[in-house]
């Protein structure tokens, strides 16, 4: 006994009700807690971020052009629709459900938008609004069939996946594709940088300042109020480090995309300047902040997690489980509509196979790679962002890496394998967490 350090576990009267020990306030305690959580299967987005770094370095080594200015901008616009679709899927996956129709729902909405603009001369903003509302309605129907009619979501959304594909085919018609007109749909196609309509350089810096400053301010506010309430809080050093990382990475991003990335060999294009951030990044930031707020700081978000964790317990706690279940499908299809608009912006057209093929697979893969569990109860909006970037990097890197007749085939195979890997990781971390051992 006497060999023990004096500070540890003094035996003696413990009659007074001591509050639970505080461990996370110190840096060491914070680190220890993080390690403990990782051991318990709570890795968050860590594997996705690590994977992203590895992949980027790998593709950069085997193909230096991968990190060209032009390709970096390309990566962002490629990732955007995947990320937005994945954000919607996070909500559905949090309940342990699946929405296989999200991809083709985005097709229905995008096609509707295109038809309205091209064939009915509807103003672009009305067309976008109509697309988003249509998404919400489709989601409500799917959610109702799942929650009230009690048909498994796998079946409901598989049926919807097929039907929606048919609807797109019908909407687009014989032409096979509807091009978005340069003038009438200009703001839409500008989103992904059509004709090099990009954010002014200064706005990129302002955006970075607002995001990083806002992040630091929110963190600081929370820390101050927690400390004044006598509660443990994240160590200041960790907050500072996170903010610093955000500022540095953000500054590199803004700077790189602020460089002229026009390929200047052609005399004709000699005075052309392509510089600035695509507008879609602003949309991504707004969605990330807004949806993260919704999930982590509101009662609604708490209830989504609760229902995903234990729906019976949630019901007993007075949560209206059916409403929550319907709402996540509404959100998912609504975000699918937004993703459809962004995808249409990138392609500047809507084809009859829009949103079909591997669109959904990539988005589900993104969410799962990012750290969202297929078993429900675990996931965050940032998972969609990190996972979406990983998927885009694989798509983009593979596309340039493998040439020849089978390049498309290899892309499919590798993407499938990555999804399988992520799902296996998910299952393993669930076992470690002990959720299976009951």
């Amino acid at each position: 006994m006497s060999t023990q350090p004096a500070t540890e576990n003094k035996p003696g009267p413990v009659q007074d009700a001591a509050p639970p020990a505080r461990t996370a306030t110190t840096l060491l305690g914070y680190g220890r807690e993080r390690v403990e959580r990782a051991r318990g299967g709570e890795m968050g987005s860590l594997p996705a971020v690590a994977g992203l770094i590895v992949l980027v370095v790998f593709f950069w080594i085997v193909q230096p052009g991968f990190l060209s200015l032009y390709n970096i901008a390309n990566l962002v616009t490629q990732a955007a629709p995947i990320i937005i679709l994945a954000m919607g899927l996070v909500f559905v996956l949090l309940l342990g459900e699946i929405d296989l129709s999200a991809g083709t729902a985005s097709g229905v909405c995008a096609a509707l938008m295109a038809v309205m603009i091209v064939r009915h001369n509807m103003a672009w903003y009305f067309a976008v609004l109509l697309a988003v509302i249509t998404g919400a309605v489709l989601g409500f129907v799917i959610g109702w069939l799942r929650a009230k009619a009690r048909i498994p979501s796998f079946v409901v959304t598989l049926a919807a996946f097929l039907s929606f594909q048919g609807i797109v085919l019908m909407q687009v018609g014989k032409a096979g594709s509807i091009s978005l007109p340069d003038q009438a749909a200009k703001p839409i196609i500008t989103l992904e940088g059509y004709n090099n309509n990009l954010m002014p350089l200064w706005l990129g810096w302002v955006m970075l300042a607002v995001v990083a400053g806002g992040y630091a301010l929110v963190k600081l506010r929370i820390a101050v109020s927690r400390r004044s309430a006598g509660l443990e809080s994240e160590p200041t050093l960790v907050t500072v480090a996170k903010t610093a990382a955000m500022v540095i990475l953000g500054a590199i991003f803004v700077y790189i995309l602020g460089e002229n990335r026009a390929i200047q060999q052609n005399a004709f294009f000699n005075n052309l300047k392509i510089e600035g951030i695509p507008w879609v990044v602003l949309l991504l930031i707004v969605l990330t902040v807004g949806l993260t707020f919704l999930l982590s700081r509101t009662r609604y978000g708490r209830h989504v997690y609760a229902v995903g964790g234990n729906d019976e317990a949630s019901r007993r706690a007075g949560i209206r489980v059916d409403r929550i279940r319907i709402s996540v499908f509404v959100l998912c299809s609504l975000l699918a509509a937004v993703a459809g608009v962004v995808q249409a912006s990138q392609l500047e057209s809507v084809a009859s196979n829009f949103g079909a093929g591997n669109t959904l697979l990539l988005a589900v893969g993104a969410a799962v790679i990012g750290g969202t569990s297929l078993f429900g109860g675990r996931g965050r909006i940032m998972d969609a962002v990190w996972g979406g970037l990983v998927v885009a990097v694989i798509q983009n890197g593979m596309g340039d890496l493998i040439k020849g007749a089978n390049s498309q085939a290899w892309q499919w195979i590798v993407t499938g394998l990555v999804l399988l890997l992520a799902a296996g990781f998910d299952a393993a971390s669930r076992r470690v967490g002990g959720a299976d051992s009951r």
Binding site: A17, P20, R297, S314, G434
Partner: protein, 325 residues
């Protein structure tokens, strides 16, 4: 109101008006008549043990009290006044909280999140008021002298069975509740954790709550109960003070439904006659073998005897209660 005696002599507390009183409750699931004219009382400041064999209807009764099931017929009196309880919200607004047999915690939420589930506090802009919730959760846990959890921000999936039970119980007292119902809180726990939870149960009663404890574990019942209600095949076999019965009698009430009552008229508070009662029951039922060896046979025979004897056992119960008061 009842004087709630704290800790010293809780065994004598709770005479007078019960806070919760059920009279002649009936509940059927289709053709299955699960609860038949069940009477039940719980008093503030007391632990009322609800005992009975598997399938006796304990969980069903508790779910009727908690509003998960609505009763088919009978009176539901709370603090002396008749009330209608149709869903869990009704019960919660009366101050009745249930800790279910399957714990009803969300493993993916932390302790604070679980304790405030469905009743989250929000501050300005409808955002969750995490600080207030964490502070209140901490106060509740330390008020119950719970020191086994490391951090209130721990996910429930990382807690032990006893810790989970503690969280579930603490959750139920967070709301100034008056009646707390625990459905087999110690069923899955080891010795030390059982002791912790029973300790907690005792403290709840000492704080003036009416605690209803369902348990199959005779030692738990003997240790913490002030009153005992025995259900037998969907009927109230007895409502007795703990001090007035022996372990053997309780066992008989559970397995046979009425043994304790029969020989228990004027001099029933003695300790030695438990076996005598068992013998008597066996005699009445026409069984020569030991009761403990073949409870199923006894149960069947008892059911037959019941059908023949009509309301005899209910009368017996009243006799016991009269003797206790």
């Amino acid at each position: 109101m009842t004087e709630t005696t704290t800790s010293a002599t809780p065994r004598t507390a709770g005479s007078g008006e019960p806070i919760l009183k059920l009279r002649a409750i009936n509940k059927s699931f289709g053709p299955v008549h699960v609860l038949q004219d069940v009477d039940f009382e719980a008093h503030a400041g007391e632990v009322t043990a609800l005992v009975g064999d598997n399938g006796a209807g304990k969980s069903t009764l508790v779910k009727c009290i908690g509003g998960t099931y609505s009763i088919d017929g009978g009176d539901y009196l709370f603090e002396g006044a008749p009330v209608k309880v149709h869903d869990p919200r009704d019960a919660a607004s009366l101050g009745i909280e249930i800790v279910y047999q399957d714990l009803a915690l969300c493993e993916n939420l932390d302790i604070v999140g679980n304790m405030f589930l469905g009743r989250e506090r929000v501050s300005g802009w409808r955002t969750l008021d995490e600080n207030t919730m964490e502070r209140m959760a901490g106060e509740t846990l330390s008020g119950l002298s719970v020191r086994t959890v490391k951090s209130l921000r721990q996910q429930v999936s990382s807690l032990s069975g006893g810790q989970r039970q503690t969280v579930a119980i603490a959750k139920s007292v967070l709301w100034n509740s008056k009646v707390v119902i625990l459905d087999e809180p110690t069923a899955a726990l080891g010795v030390a954790q059982t002791a912790q939870v029973l300790d907690l149960v005792r403290r709840l009663a000492d704080r003036g709550l009416a605690v209803i404890l369902i348990s199959h574990n005779m030692r738990d019942v003997l240790e913490v109960a002030d009153r005992i209600v025995a259900l037998y095949l969907g009927k109230t076999a007895a409502q007795v003070q703990r001090a007035d019965v022996t372990q053997t009698q309780i066992v008989e009430l559970i397995t046979a439904g009425h043994s304790g009552n029969i020989g228990l008229l004027p001099t029933a508070n003695g300790n030695g006659n438990g076996n005598g009662n068992a013998a008597q029951v066996a005699e009445v039922l026409g069984i020569a073998d030991g009761i403990a060896d073949e409870p199923a046979a006894v149960a069947d025979a008892a059911a037959d005897a019941e059908a023949a004897a009509g309301t005899e056992e209910t009368d017996g119960t009243d006799g016991v209660q009269g003797a206790a008061e």
